[in-house]
């Protein structure tokens, strides 16, 4: 881990106890995802040197930034850590060019050289013509790019991004996300992105670190986290029904009551059970045929999202089914009463807890 970022810290912020250990290799993009208030931004500020850690150490590119056992703590300006803040924190009293040149000028680069470097970066993100403008005149997407190149132009050893797309409206978000992904791919050092949007994390990062309530609940690449979520929060956000239970011989006795037939007969002990909502069917009458998991349940909520409909059903366990609008019409919900739900054992994913 010579060029990477190594973080192993504990912090206390208000009622939150944060305990995070993570490594980011050079050239790797790691997303720290978690619900609001999980301690993600606190972690980012600690790496940047804007908040002290209670215990632990932070290493970057072979250099120790902070180590509570030796009392070493480099100031933010000595860390070589570039930060893109959530609301960008651009200097509105300076031109776009001076914003981007700020890092170089602060570290002693002659004014002319610093401005030339800034212009090169601005050209790279298509903002050359806005160099003399004040940042508050720019659109959200443009401000985001200025914030990014302001951090990059200082030539940092690592890059931190705090909710980089949160301040953008939905329309520009996907464009900016794609551009951001390209620029981050060009950056040689480690990149840490903090976000509460799993989709953003999946789109931007090579690896995800899920932080909930101050603790790391899961680490893995995007595909693994999406397929095998290890917490309710991440399961809900990737749109999977996540159940917990105890497996034995092809069935899982669920913690909340009820049981599910599963494909793996060799799984034993405490497991996660993931069922994709699209695998869950709803019927007015008791279905016949192959599905192994069939039971009767009450509909609790119906949420229409374009041509898909998400139906929450109660009972043990409560599940979300995703059906087509046509299928929903067939159910004749106005008739009330319970519906039958079914899914195949083969559509259930089981993995150890």
């Amino acid at each position: 881990m010579t060029d990477g970022l190594g973080v192993d810290v504990t912090m206390r912020r208000g009622t939150l106890d944060l305990r995070v250990e993570l490594d980011v290799a050079a050239g790797e993009i790691v997303a720290v995802v978690g619900p609001n208030g999980a301690g993600k931004s606190t972690l980012l500020q600690a790496v940047a040197g804007l908040l002290p850690v209670a215990a632990g150490r932070i290493d970057l590119a072979g250099r120790t930034l902070e180590d509570t056992t030796t009392g070493l703590r480099l100031a933010a300006e000595e860390r070589d850590v570039g930060v893109v803040f959530q609301d960008y924190l651009l200097f509105d009293h300076l031109s776009v060019r001076e914003n981007v040149a700020f890092g170089q000028r602060s570290t002693g680069t002659p004014r002319r050289t610093a401005r030339a470097i800034a212009d090169t970066w601005l050209a790279r993100v298509g903002l050359a013509e806005h160099a003399a403008t004040r940042p508050d005149r720019l659109s959200g997407g443009q401000r985001q790019r200025v914030a990014l190149v302001r951090a990059l132009a200082a030539d940092p050893a690592c890059l931190l991004l705090d909710e980089p797309l949160a301040a953008l409206d939905v329309d520009t978000r996907s464009t900016v996300r794609r551009e951001l992904r390209d620029h981050l791919a060009d950056f040689a050092g480690p990149v840490l992105v903090v976000t509460h949007e799993p989709l953003e994390a999946l789109a931007l990062a090579d690896r995800l670190v899920v932080v909930e309530d101050g603790q790391v609940t899961q680490v893995g690449d995007a595909a693994t986290v999406a397929r095998h979520p290890r917490s309710d929060w991440i399961a809900r956000l990737v749109g999977v029904n996540l159940l917990t239970g105890t497996a034995s011989g092809g069935a899982v006795a669920l913690d909340g009551g009820g049981a599910v037939r599963v494909p793996d007969t060799d799984q034993h002990g405490e497991v996660f059970v993931a069922v994709h909502p699209r695998s869950v069917s709803l019927h007015r009458d008791e279905p016949t045929g192959s599905p192994r998991n069939v039971w009767k349940a009450a509909i609790e909520d119906v949420e229409v999202d374009q041509d898909r409909v998400r139906v929450a059903v109660g009972g043990a366990p409560s599940l979300v089914a995703e059906v087509t609008a046509a299928a929903l019409a067939d159910l004749d919900l106005a008739a009330g009463g319970d519906v039958w739900i079914s899914f195949k054992a083969a559509d259930v994913t089981v993995y150890p807890r």
Binding site: A48, G49, L50, A75, A76, E77, E78, R79, D80, V81, G82, V83, F85, L89, F91, H93, L94, F102, G103, S106, T107, R150, A151, A154
Partner: protein
Amino acid sequence: MPDTAPAAAGITSADPGPPRPAQGGVASSRPRLPSAHVVLTCLAVLALALFLVPLVGLVARTPLTRIPELIVSPAVVQATRLSVVTSLAALAISTVLGVPLAWFFARRDVPFANLLRAIAVLPMVLPPVVGGVALLLAFGRRGLLGGPLEQVTGVRLPFTTAGAVMAATFVAMPFLVVTVEAGLRQADQRLEDAASTLGASRWTIYRRITLPQIAPSLGAGMALCWARALGEFGATITFAGNFPGRTQTMPLAVYLLLESDAQAAYVLSLLLLAISVAVLVLLRGRYLSP
């Protein structure tokens, strides 16, 4: 004022008339009190008159045709020159010392912060003559520090131009301190964080990020400070005395000229008024709009 007319009509008319929708018919059965708006407006006009009439008097009684001649008279020129020098010196000292003091209050975790701030802003409410007496007891020839200071350095403050500067600084600096402190508290410190992650040292951050942010407050604080220093009377006459050319600033000269050459006093007063108006116009964004 279109909205006062119906209210005025309301109290002068004796018969209740048809109940107006706004009152819902309930108020009409009670004895009429003068409308609150009318009472408050009358008092407000009275207050305005208190400010306006003296100004009118000053402008009306100043011999406008003699201004060119009086304004170059030795007494007026001498006092004006001294006032400019002492007030600018007081402004310079107040800025150099007052900005760090404002920073100290706004940014450092100072023990007994409220007590220290109270001491620093006390001159704003202290009768200036008391300030002059206090300065005399501290820096006078027999004062706490004044004696030793004169013995060691040969510098004498009381009854010198330096003393007049000190008196003006004493009463004027608090205005700068409170204004700049408010500006520092309003400034977004997260911008300073952002600058530090870009490698900027504390000095660079203060110069390139903080200072531009507090520039409006600093400008306002300096204008208020200078205006107050220019008008300083009580502490100056007590601590520095009233020596023409050395400590007799414009306000002191006005007071003295009223006895000997009243018209010159009026002209000086008008000059001070003009300067005050200029300062107010400079600060218009701060005090002339709500």
